[in-house]
Symmetry: C2
């Protein structure tokens, strides 16, 4: 119902992406249907395919956008703990992106744009670890994997409703801060 007075939609790509994110957030990626997205945008059933090639292409585009959003979200981090908080915040703010990003079987793994975006976000994470004080940077590989694991595990368990009881009404960010302190010590990343 956006603008059907013209033959061309105007910005079908953006409209389909937005609708897709909405479906994925509320019903999961499995419920995603190209024909349904077309109906929501008020275009014919084959229109979305022109912008995303196929279902996998749409999901790959979402994953790519997700990696870029994550890179941006991490760019202003003050230290590693803050980066973790921002990682969790990203997952909460963009649950659909997050879900799709870490489900490789839904994506075209060899897509050049996805690979590039992935490399950028990965590099961003490495940069955070590299900025650590000496004693913590002893084995950056292990420290990086540990930090990523904590943040990613927390975010995943959060989105899959496995922490609902543990949170007890607290904001996810605050709960994660407590977890991060327990893990790296209170002054860990400073």
């Amino acid at each position: 119902m956006t603008s059907r007075d013209t033959y061309h939609h105007g910005d079908l790509r953006r409209a389909v992406l937005a609708a897709a994110l909405d479906v994925i957030r509320t019903e999961g990626p499995a419920a995603l249907s190209l024909r349904d997205l077309a109906r929501r945008a008020g275009v014919s059933h084959a229109a979305p395919a022109h912008h995303f090639r196929d279902r996998t292409g749409l999901l790959t585009a979402i994953a790519t956008e997700g990696h870029d959003l994550l890179t941006a979200a991490l760019s202003d981090a003050t230290d590693l703990r803050d980066a973790g908080v921002r990682y969790v915040r990203f997952a909460v703010a963009h649950p659909a992106h997050f879900q799709v990003m870490f489900q490789p079987d839904l994506l075209r793994a060899d897509d050049p744009e996805l690979e590039a975006a992935k490399a950028r976000s990965y590099e961003r994470l490495r940069a955070e670890v590299a900025g650590l004080p000496g004693d913590r940077a002893a084995d950056p590989e292990v420290t990086g994997t540990a930090a990523w694991s904590v943040a990613h595990g927390f975010a995943t368990l959060l989105l899959t409703h496995n922490l609902d009881r543990s949170l007890g009404g607290r904001a996810p960010e605050d709960a994660f801060r407590a977890v991060a302190d327990a893990v790296f010590g209170n002054g860990g990343g400073e």
Copy 2:
């Protein structure tokens, strides 16, 4: 091709489950097709539905089985770090179960058997945290969430091929041990 000489398959439920796990492990849950599983078992296309009701039912059964396998895997843990190692080992040994267990949108959330199996594995995790020495058990809720986050994050990143470079040929278990030590200190869980 198992035994089509009789009208009854013999153990279709088990055959379908095994085939499903195989498909999920190699191609992901999205590639799962009831009709394909029926073909593999040499039965008609509607036969699997009698055992699992529908696609969601099949995945719910797999998730339930997964939680029971996880509970069993954790039952012999010596301490919290060992529980983490066993958690990762479980994810590597049963990747299909693990994937499905933590994708709620694929499951019938209110299934009684699933709920019960989930409660059992969750209780198992709580028990591990409760067995900690005094100083670590200060805030069991936070400690439990932290431990679960580390193990779950590591396992998830591992299965999604995000640690392939970091591993550098090492066994996942060993890499996780290093991560656990970095996180909780070398004698953390002892």
